[in-house]
Symmetry: C2
Subunit: 337 residues, 2 copies
């Protein structure tokens, strides 16, 4: 059993993306958004079968934890009301994918965050999605899109969301969207920085003292964190925090979206196995073939297969950890927990 914890619907039907463009154009013009278009089941099936499903089959995964395309969540665009309508449209599409491919895609929602706004709408959308069978959510630590105007994740601002996630027993993936700051390339800088920043915010704070059962997945292999694991262990000490192992590692998980063997080897060497979830970010940030290996950069299963870990560790990374971190996963895809 292989569960990919990090897939995005990057191949959504054009009508869906076109509606977003029209919605934002209407917002800019001060006009009401057009009606959301009809999208047939066949259109959805085609975008999935040609892409994610094909790759899943080729590469040998069974289940993908699937969420809307991260780079177009665009929380910095429009306002709260556009963010609500767009999030609902994106999440509804994810729900349809999950229904059309039972047992293959477990749905995760985006939240209608908006810079400077409260989290009430995000909590309402989380409630709506969990009622539809969603098993987790993506939380954007920087809805401003690279200006970093939100308080740290440990701030009371976020507490109502954490409370509701704990209540539903759903984890969150900490995932930014596009960069509206020319200093930051989205997938080459902003994503990595957000992962690193989120981990350091958690290290500085005491969030899991207040939410001992909250679980957060930091994608892209944890940004810079595992590579600098000594720095973070040392900073915890300097800041008078408990060791990282007890302070964070009951609650924080990293995926395997690291696109070369030495990176995965480092990840599996320094981070406890129980904190690593298989993920590919597919179809995602880097779509090409590595000339050094002749394989796709983002075929991360190959790297995990080749890592010097035991079969038990590999099974935990491929499936067991995801089943534990996402308690609603088994029911969502018809597996016994």
């Amino acid at each position: 059993m292989i569960i990919d914890c990090h897939g995005h619907y990057t191949t959504a039907p054009a009508a869906h993306s076109d509606w977003r463009a029209a919605q934002l154009a209407a917002f800019a013009a001060g006009e009401p958004a057009p009606e959301y278009p009809e999208i047939s089941d066949d259109e959805i099936r085609e975008t999935i079968e040609k892409n994610q499903l094909r790759l899943i089959r080729e590469r040998g995964a069974d289940v993908t934890i699937f969420s809307p395309r991260a780079s177009v969540m665009g929380h910095h665009q429009g306002d709260l009301s556009t963010s609500i309508a767009w999030s609902e449209a994106c999440n509804n599409l994810i729900a349809r994918v999950a229904d059309l491919f039972p047992g293959v895609f477990a749905p995760v929602c985006q939240l209608p965050q908006s810079p400077g706004e409260g989290l009430e709408a995000s909590i309402a959308e989380l409630d709506r999605c969990v009622a539809m069978g969603f098993i987790g959510c993506n939380v954007n630590p920087d809805p401003s899109g690279g200006h970093w105007t939100s308080p740290p994740l440990t701030d009371r601002y976020w507490y109502p969301l954490w409370e509701r996630m704990v209540e539903h027993d759903v984890p969150g993936m900490v995932h930014v969207s596009a960069s509206a700051n020319p200093a930051f390339h989205a997938t080459g800088a902003h994503y990595m920085n957000a992962d690193t920043t989120a981990f350091m915010q958690l290290l500085q704070g005491d969030l899991f003292r207040d939410f001992p059962t909250l679980r957060l997945v930091i994608p892209h292999g944890g940004g810079a964190v595992p590579y600098h694991w000594g720095r973070y262990r040392g900073l915890a000490d300097m800041l008078g925090q408990p060791p990282v192992s007890s302070h964070l590692m009951n609650n924080v998980f990293f995926d395997t979206c690291v696109y070369h063997q030495p990176g995965i080897d480092l990840l599996t060497t320094v981070i406890p196995t129980e904190n690593i979830l298989f993920g590919s970010e597919m179809v995602g940030a880097v779509r090409g073939i590595d000339p050094e290996t002749g394989q796709y950069f983002d075929d991360t299963k190959r790297y995990v297969d080749a890592a010097a870990i035991s079969d038990e560790q590999r099974e935990a990374i491929f499936a067991g950890n995801a089943m534990r971190v996402y308690p609603r996963l088994a029911a969502a895809v018809g597996l016994s927990a």
Copy 2:
């Protein structure tokens, strides 16, 4: 011969730091800054002998490329005129350290950057420092202190500085200062993010086509970059850029400020030896002892000593590469090049 390319005067005399506080207070009050204090040679000697020099001797380095304390460059504080006065004071102190300990400290300057201002003052200060024997400079890609309001390093905005650095044949270390953004812890997030961001800016652009002899050192082991080396190689391909090896690696160098063995092992595995410079960031970000090894986290020489590389590679990382990247180093510390 062991050359540490990354040391900061984090232990400068209190009178120096007190003057900075007084200068900023005067700025806030709209008053002229007080006179810079007299600081005796003995005071300087004491702060160095007890700290950097003691640690250099204990750990076995010979030469440190030495610059003002990065976290208090504070380009986001005050205005251009305060930044000029403070940079001159800091650089003068570094020059005195180099003079008081001949052959041990090779001076590198901070630049009087200020958000929204041009680089004329930085170029003038670089000229002044090079005339005093400085061998390089620290360039802050984000003088706003975590708001990232400057254009990317590949933008024409920076070209006059790159031109002058090429003219003087001095490299720059890309190094931010403190974070004025509560989202970013300075040494745990802002530093790492800046390293990653700078590399990605260079990958997106074509800076070294215009400046083929410009050399930039990205500290802290290159932020997230070596851990995600596959991602960056793949992004270069996706963006239609030449391979990273030819596009960047004639001009970009990483130091070894990575505070655990697996991180250094990854660095020396994926990054060509000629692009790695020994550095410790000492006395710096993480001052404690690693309970897993019983050694100081920032005693990075131990990790390089233990890395599975040849003696020739180790010599290049410890000294040969620094001599090549900093052509003025040999003369500054009385070595034959």
